[in-house]
Amino acid sequence: MVSDSVQSISVSLPGAAPHPLWRMAGLTGLLAAEQLLISARTPHIGLQDARGLPGLVFSLGGWKVRLLVSLAILALLFWQSRGKRNLERMSESAVGKGVAWRWLLAHLAGILLFAGLTSILFENRLQGVAADILVLGWAAMGAAAVVLAALAFLPTAFWRAILRGTGDVWAYVLVMGLGACVLSAYTKPVWNPLARWTLMLAWLLLRPFVPAVSADLSSMLIGTHGFSVQIAPVCSGFEGIGLILAFTAGWLWFFRREWRFPRALLLIPLGVAAIWVFNAVRVAALVLIGVAGAPEIALQGFHSHAGWIAFNVVALGTCLAARRISWFTTAGSGETWLAERSEPNPVAPYLLPFLAILAAGLAAGAASSNGFEWLYALRVVTAASALWYFRDSYRALDWRVGWPAVALGGLVFLIWIGLEPLAGSARTGEPSALAHAPALARMAWLVFRVLGAVITVPIAEELAFRGFLPRRLVSADFEAVAWRTFAWAPFLISSIGFGLLHGDRWLSGTIAGMIYAFAMMRRGRIGEAAAAHAVTNALLAIYVLATGNWQLW
């Protein structure tokens, strides 16, 4: 049943003309997507032995990433410090003319040419002067494509005003950016000592459980005669340290009014120390799993998932714990925190079931081997538990379903199958682990897989991607936003986010997200979106089981 009060509230959207921020976001999204697409199909290794300018392009590859990261942060900081004020000052007429399609078409032509040149360059077909000329043309075409895209999304007057209004912010940020680039580029000598300390700590942690464990500092091997692993320098925990540095600094920056500075800066080294210890625990656990008789799980699922689990635990743990310590923060301590806790969290019913699926997916992935997730049932159970816990909150939502939702679900299924060749995944049959499992275990797994696909996943994902995200993008007080509210940016961002969740099938996922959003907004019923999603997934389940196209699962 629907609450009339929710339906009847109308919210004024943030301006009929697209705000400059949305235009900037659109421009960044377009360039990032193109860069990802081109980069994913580029054989970077092709230029490994190249000479001249092509060789320089290969050696500067690492700096390309550093430059992109620096530019992204620079743009963010500029927005935080002066950009917002400048943008507010600019007249809407300067940015309210819509996308310049001529420039956009020119950009698309330019980016296609750039992609072609990238392919030729990285296949290292040309040599000598011809290759150097190709590099120059490639770089010029890339720069031209970026400029054309910038002009397509925002007029030249806007860019001139931006440049005039920056003042000295660029100088400060560029100096810090270069400093960070240099620091990160020349920290490699620290990797080996760090890896040795990781090895020693992992050995100490393992000793009580595996008395026969040995650690060799020269070969960096740790384990027993039956199972051992080598700690490579890249496994020294550097990536986790980098991610924690970025997360903690970002958290402190964005919520800086809540923290007591400079003491809150201590959270950064505390987070770094915690993630390093967790990395040693990860190595110890990996050895323990291998020694216990599951080397495939240790080296496959656990190896690729445990680091990310540790990152999430440390990142959220550090910040959540610190919010309860009044020495660090002014916002979440004592009576304030208790008062805050006593109020229901309006976001939780919408997000927690989806987050439960993600968390369970990470845990199940860590226990998987050969790419097969035996513990899929964990996703279903955790999502169902979260949905049950918030059942009272869902009574206020409109779960009614009409036939158009069923038809839209069927349409998404047809689109999904039709676009499957674009995903580039080869046809795979039933996973051998499942095919060779006892009949009862196989049947139980299939039952949970279908239940998850048809019930818990559609409800959890629709609550998050249709019920919460687009409305939250319209207003911080998302509960006051009517379910039928349509705005392009929230519609596109939530649909693209939903698409990205589906990896190689991001295009199918994005189109599906748009159709489910349409299903919901047509009558303002979350039930319509969930039903359409459930129909799609049910048809996919039948298709997979009937035709053996298991790559779709």
Partner: protein, 61 residues
Amino acid sequence: MKSTIIKAALLLAGMGGLLLAAQDDYQNWNRGSAPEIDAASAGTALALLGGAVLMIRGRKR
């Protein structure tokens, strides 16, 4: 002055951290083999973190 130093520290930590993580991944990728990189688990973990942050902040209006 104090505020500038704090901002500089946060900026350096944040940018340095992102660059470290990006550099490690890019080098693995550039070598043609990336055993550490599992795009699906990375995407899941980052989506989980982003969602958790939204939820933690969701209590406050």
